[in-house]
């Protein structure tokens, strides 16, 4: 391996991009964990659902071949706006995010209402098992009702919705438009969420609920509303990550959520689960570590390196990087 600065930089950018995706998904885990102390195992499937809904939205709004099929002609004028140059493309992606975020957000709220709320006072492992059940259900629903195949994240004619080729080269380092888009969007969303939670009234209610649910209830916080909100925001961010994942890597499949799900959960734990900034930090850290491990060590052991980092962090800081040193509640 010939070491060069540009190689290191390019791998780091790969890592930051991957980290941005992890961070977006990790926020969903951490939000729910912070409030309910449960691992929402189905979150990775909501990420997958986000990928599918986003693909559907992109096809309806940005694929002329779809508008040409019978009964879909009314889409043509809408599409002509979205396909009209840079502004149109940006609007197209934004529309896919919004649609996917809203649909999947409501899926999250729905799942919480029917699968988790009845278990709020059940033994500790019950919600976890229920979540695994939801996860198996969603995966098989996608397999049966959408497709068992890996679907390309592109128009019917095979072209990408967003030109994903290398955008420019700085000092020998290739950066693609997609990478910039992912990094910028994830940072902006993280900042917005952070402000929302720390500055607004409902954000304060969320923090209160995560500190002590009963006490918050006594103080007049509508706990169910707060929980539902967490189950909307988390999956919505996960869905956006799902759309990005599809556009960046090029496909969706019914079992695609599994590996990013585990990694993002790992990221949330590294950062200190329950802590929003921790999830972001953990996500970026894990992404960079993985990318560098793959680039300098061996692609085969990237996951091993990721999990070793997790173990090391937890041994030296049992509460995660930004988590408080937690004493078991007595």
């Amino acid at each position: 391996m010939t070491f060069s600065m540009s190689y290191l930089l390019e791998q780091t950018i790969n890592g930051i991009t991957l980290g941005g995706l992890y961070a977006l998904v990790a926020l969903g885990y951490t939000l729910v964990y912070g409030i309910l102390l449960m691992i929402n195992f189905a979150h990775s499937e909501l990420f997958m659902a986000g990928g599918y809904v986003g693909l559907g939205a992109l096809k309806l709004l940005g694929d002329p071949a779809v508008a040409k099929t019978a009964g879909m002609g009314f889409l043509a004028p809408i599409q002509s706006f979205f396909l009209s140059g840079t502004v149109g493309y940006i609007c197209l992606i934004a529309a896919a995010f919004v649609i996917s975020g809203i649909v999947v957000g409501f899926m999250g709220v729905f799942i919480e209402r029917f699968a988790y709320r009845p278990l709020r006072h059940a033994p500790r492992l019950a919600p976890l098992i229920s979540a695994i059940g939801v996860s198996i259900f969603l995966q098989n629903a996608a397999l049966l009702w959408i497709s068992s195949k890996q679907l390309p994240y592109s128009r019917v004619d095979g072209t990408s919705f967003v030109p994903a080729k290398t955008a420019f080269t700085v000092a020998g380092v290739n950066i693609s438009t997609m990478q910039i888009l992912i990094i910028v969007t994830s940072l902006v969303l993280l900042a917005v969420l952070d402000t929302f939670v720390s500055k607004t009234r409902i954000g304060r209610a969320m923090r209160a609920t995560s500190q002590d649910r009963d006490a918050a209830g006594l103080m007049g916080v509508d706990i169910n509303r707060v929980i539902a909100l967490a189950f909307f925001i988390g999956p919505a961010l996960g869905a956006i990550a799902g759309v990005f994942n599809g556009m960046y890597y090029g496909s969706v499949k019914y079992n695609m959520g599994f590996i990013p799900g585990i990694k993002s959960f790992t990221a949330a734990v590294i950062g200190g689960i329950g802590n929003l900034r921790g999830a972001m930090l953990g996500g970026f850290l894990l992404g960079i570590v993985e990318s560098l491990a793959s680039g300098f060590l061996s692609n085969a052991y990237r996951d091993v390196v990721a999990f070793i980092v997790l173990v090391l962090v937890l041994i030296f800081r049992p509460g995660g990087l930004l988590g408080e040193a937690v004493a078991e509640k007595v």
Partner: protein, 402 residues
């Protein structure tokens, strides 16, 4: 409390016993045939990944075998013998443990004499021993692991060539015809991908080429960005991928998008239209793959097969193993016919009949869709032709220029 618990247990046991009885009762009757027609039902198992794994290839196997059986049932030869052939699908999901269960189920089926399958070499490793115990013939259209025919299993045959033929042929093409000198070799950590990539790398180096690096990925991986950056830094002119189309296509796509404009070459696992769809025709253009045998359309029986396929499965594409599965099923059917002629149709599904069917296969010799079908002493096909395909500008696989 105690009483209630005992009652629960007793009822549970009663239910289990009832289920066992019902099931046993059913089992007794399946062996007999319908009295009216007096035809003997002979079953052929299709072992393939249907719900998980390389599903597109697995479904192709089901199509090919079913087509062969349907044609056989319509032939006068089978009708005169008083045999009705039927198929039963066993979904092995590409997983050895599931494959072992499927193999036991096949073996338990009294009317089942042969299995057309499996796709994955790892599945066969477990299944073939079970078939061997149960005197069931196995003909695989797709196993390429070299050692499978060296395990001393007399009931095992395959109609496809193996890694040690396919890998080197591909490496020869890459070095001698395409003029590639520096390669990076990637596999998907499955037995299939690893075996093929190892054989390719060995031959490429023997030819004088340089293997600049060797990496492993997972067969469900989608993120190859860091790998692509690493490959790019090595200055290679070809990437060899041992694996299946799902991940292979994404590697090709991410290579081209990441500024690594060299062809990706793979084995028969990426020889599917899905590869081009997933990678995008523009990215896949110039990618190479090898497949066993000669192009179906150029074979003497090829056009006939394509016509029959289009009639039976309108709107579906022929995948990599449809033709091989058709040939593999025909190997079983021809052995059944030979035994039925010799011993009588009613003896086909007995233990002696099953043993006779296995014994009849080595003398197989017919013109199949993939070429001449006959076996050597180990059960490997004598047809060792390999064809190189390339993705053309029109976005389809076409035989590459020699």
């Amino acid at each position: 409390m105690g009483m209630r618990k005992i009652r629960t247990y007793v009822s549970l046991i009663a239910v289990l016993a009832a289920v066992a009885l019902v099931v046993t009762g059913c089992g007794g009757t399946t062996g007999t045939t319908d009295g009216g027609a007096k035809a003997v039902t002979v079953t052929i198992g299709i072992g393939a990944p249907i719900s998980d794994g390389a599903v597109a290839l697995g479904k192709g196997m089901v199509r090919g075998a079913n087509l062969a059986v349907k044609q056989a049932n319509e032939s006068a030869e089978i009708k005169d013998l008083g045999i009705v052939l039927q198929t039963v699908e066993g979904d092995d999901k590409g997983d050895p443990t599931t494959g072992g269960n499927v193999a036991t189920q096949f073996t338990s089926n009294p009317s089942l004499v042969g299995v057309m399958g499996h796709l994955n070499s790892g599945v066969t490793r477990v299944a073939v021993k079970i078939y061997n115990q149960g005197n069931v013939l196995q003909v695989s259209p797709a196993n390429t692991a070299v050692d499978l025919t060296q395990m001393g299993m007399k009931n095992y045959f395959r109609v496809c060539t193996i890694d040690s033929v396919q890998g080197p042929a591909a490496a020869d093409y890459a070095f001698k015809v395409a003029g590639k000198k520096v390669a990076f070799v990637v596999d998907d950590s499955t037995p299939y991908g690893t075996g093929l990539a190892d054989e390719w790398a060995k031959q490429f180096e023997a030819n004088g080429g340089k293997v600049a690096g060797r990496e492993k990925t997972g067969d469900k991986d989608t993120d190859f960005k860091a790998l692509v950056t690493a490959i790019k830094s090595k200055g290679v002119d070809i990437v060899y991928y041992g694996g299946i189309y799902n991940s292979g296509a994404l590697l090709s796509k991410q290579m081209k998008e990441g500024g690594l404009a060299v062809p990706l070459m793979g084995g028969d696992g990426i020889f599917d239209g899905e590869f081009i769809k997933l990678a995008g025709a523009a990215n896949a253009a110039g990618d190479l793959c090898t497949s066993i045998g000669l192009p179906t359309a150029e074979m003497p029986k090829g056009q006939e097969f394509i016509a029959a396929f289009k009639a039976e499965y309108p709107g579906e594409e022929i995948a990599a193993y449809d033709a091989y599965s058709y040939d593999a099923a025909n190997v079983i059917i021809k052995a059944i016919i030979a035994v039925a002629k010799e011993m009588g149709a009613d003896k086909v599904t007995t233990t002696e009949g099953k043993k006779a069917i296995i014994a009849a296969v080595p003398s197989t010799d017919f013109e199949g869709v993939s070429g001449k079908v006959s076996f050597d002493a180990n059960g490997d096909t004598t047809n060792k032709a390999i064809t190189v395909y390339a993705v053309g500008a029109d976005g389809t696989w076409a035989p590459a220029a020699k």
